[in-house]
């Protein structure tokens, strides 16, 4: 019996164009993409560090003397303040001592002291404002530029614009906290209306299967697997010859080859066993590895968890991955393993912050030694800040009014760009606050991309990462 030829699809396809290309025309097609750049880039790759739960700027990066002066008194900013789940308590200074670092004398608190070594090259922005004090929306705003679902993540935009440097690895990798995803989970790394190959690929270093379904089932032999890919190609090519014009078919044939290559390349990239001990120490890895004791939250374990992700990130970037997104902290759950320190800042922020700082300092040092810091941007962000007043005895509630981001590498110039007010409650100058759009515009700029020109037509709107906002932060870029 011969293959059916007179299907509806073939008939419509024969009218011109083919179903495949019809499906594709309403999607993309922008000049320069693939080449991707609008001007010479300074950076080629990005690491985004996301602190899930809302990191407290006043306890880490934004020193507020006023809080020490007012310590213990009812916090009174001179206006009625509505908070997420509490009423404003007493003025609460940082739970840790701040010290000066570098030539700039930038103040950092004790848990993040490991970053002091690089403080002169870090661009701090203390006047970020968001649009909400709700985790789900706040997280999405930082990761996708919109506080509602449906929009591609920054990593997807970068992957889309620049393509991959290594055919055998995904261009965008996500390293989630092994204890759970941040609020809104996969939406933080989805490609949405961009081509699906730009979505983040989740990798779990330390897990038995670091990428879902990476390895063949136990019931299939190595030879059966390899021959399956070959036979599939043969059969699929026969099939595609009778269906000319459907681009999807060839793309799918290719995806099986990529999958097979990825099994080898991903396994190799994740193998840290041959890294020298001094490198493992640099990143704060524990001798016990990922199985280190975490029954009570502690600095050693958090350094192992975060540091290992940083080391894996470096290996992935070396191998051509464009965008690595590292998450610290999960979404709720008990016991708390995230930055949402409503109950106890000292207990929860301390180990997470120190683990983050140890791992990140190791990463910066390592990239520097390899000559990669100049063309790699590291962006530290979180969904919003925490209040300068206490919540209960030992916690802080959400501060949606101002928070901190920082960046280093990729031609970014160190310094402080934007201050918060005397408490760390609101921006010092509310009319000139920084928004995520400006951070993203600056990031794209360093990658050689004009954020206003990287657009995709979707539902009759020319969509972009920065919506209709954003400007490159002057002074931060050379």
């Amino acid at each position: 019996m011969s293959l059916p030829m007179s299907t509806r699809r073939n008939f419509i396809g024969s009218l011109g164009g083919g179903i495949g290309s019809l499906a594709l025309t309403d999607l993309i097609a922008k000049e320069g993409l693939g080449a991707g750049r609008h001007h010479p880039p300074k950076a080629k790759r990005v690491i985004q560090l996301f602190m899930a739960g809302a990191a407290s700027h006043v306890d880490l990066f934004d020193y507020k003397r006023q809080l020490e002066k007012e310590a213990g008194q009812q916090w009174d900013p001179g206006e009625e303040v509505e908070l997420f789940q509490s009423s404003p308590g007493v003025s609460q200074p940082s739970y840790w001592e701040f010290k000066r670092y570098g030539q700039s004398g930038k103040m950092l608190s004790e848990p993040v002291a490991p970053l002091g070594k690089f403080v002169d090259d870090i661009a701090f922005v203390h006047n970020l404002v968001g649009q909400t004090g709700v985790h789900s929306q706040g997280t999405l705003l930082q990761t996708t530029g919109f506080n509602r679902p449906g929009f591609p993540s920054a990593g997807s935009w970068v992957s889309y614009a620049l393509g991959t440097d290594n055919e055998n690895l995904p261009s965008y990798v996500v390293l989630p906290d092994h204890r759970g995803f941040a609020s809104n989970g996969v939406k933080n790394w989805s490609s949405m209306f961009l081509p699906a190959e730009n979505q983040g690929t989740v990798i779990r270093p330390g897990a038995q299967t670091p990428i879902n379904d990476l390895y063949r089932p136990k019931s299939i032999s190595k030879e059966a697997d390899a021959e399956a890919v070959r036979s599939l190609r043969e059969l699929n090519e026969m099939h595609s010859r009778t269906r000319q014009g459907d681009d999807r078919l060839n793309a799918r044939i290719r995806s099986y080859e990529l999958a097979a290559q990825m099994q080898l390349s991903a396994t190799e990239a994740l193998d840290t066993s041959r890294e020298p001990q001094y490198i493992k120490d640099l990143y704060g890895l524990a001798h016990e590895g990922p199985g280190v004791d975490d029954s009570k939250i502690n600095r050693k374990a958090e350094a192992e968890f975060f540091g290992r992700k940083c080391l894996i990130a470096r290996r992935l970037l070396e191998r051509g991955v464009r965008f690595v997104q590292i998450f610290s902290g999960n979404e709720n759950g008990f016991p708390r393993r995230n930055w949402d320190s409503h109950e106890n800042v000292k207990r929860d922020h301390g180990p997470l912050a120190n683990g983050m700082a140890v791992g990140t300092a190791g990463l910066i040092e390592d990239l520097k030694q390899r000559g990669m810091l100049d063309d790699t941007i590291i962006l530290w962000t979180t969904e919003f800040g925490r209040m300068p007043c206490a919540q209960g005895g030992a916690g802080r509630d959400h501060n949606p009014f101002v928070f901190t981001n920082w960046m280093i590498g990729g031609g970014i110039k160190g310094g402080t760009y934007g201050e918060s007010d005397q408490w760390g409650f609101r921006p010092q100058d509310p009319d000139n606050a920084t928004q995520v759009y400006d951070i993203h515009a600056t990031l794209l700029h360093q990658l050689g991309i004009d954020h206003e020109r990287l657009t995709v037509r979707h539902n009759s709107i020319d969509r972009r990462l920065t919506d209709v906002h954003g400007h490159v932060i002057k002074g931060m870029v050379s």
Binding site: L24, D213, A228, R248
Partner: protein, 82 residues
């Protein structure tokens, strides 16, 4: 104009080849019918062509019925409805 497919990724291929669900379903199909003719009829609603029969039978002989079923589930023709 660069054309890229909108939904196909290597991750999809990994899922369809390696997910435990596919392993279970392959075993089921193989227990229903162990010939390549039988499997294609169930999965695609048609008999194989001469050329296809060669490829399928060669694979069946070398690797067994469940492995063949897994292969058939990964065919473009199984994935895309005409």
């Amino acid at each position: 104009v660069a054309k890229r497919d909108e939904t196909t990724t290597a991750l999809q291929a990994l899922s369809l080849m390696n997910n435990p669900f596919i392993e279970a379903m392959s075993a089921k199909l193989a227990s229903r019918t162990s010939s390549s003719e039988g499997m294609l009829r169930v999965a695609l609603g048609r008999s194989p062509s001469e050329q296809e029969r060669d490829v399928l039978n060669h694979y069946l002989e070398a690797h067994g019925a469940p492995a063949l079923a897994r292969l058939i589930f990964n065919l473009n023709e199984f994935t895309y409805v005409d």
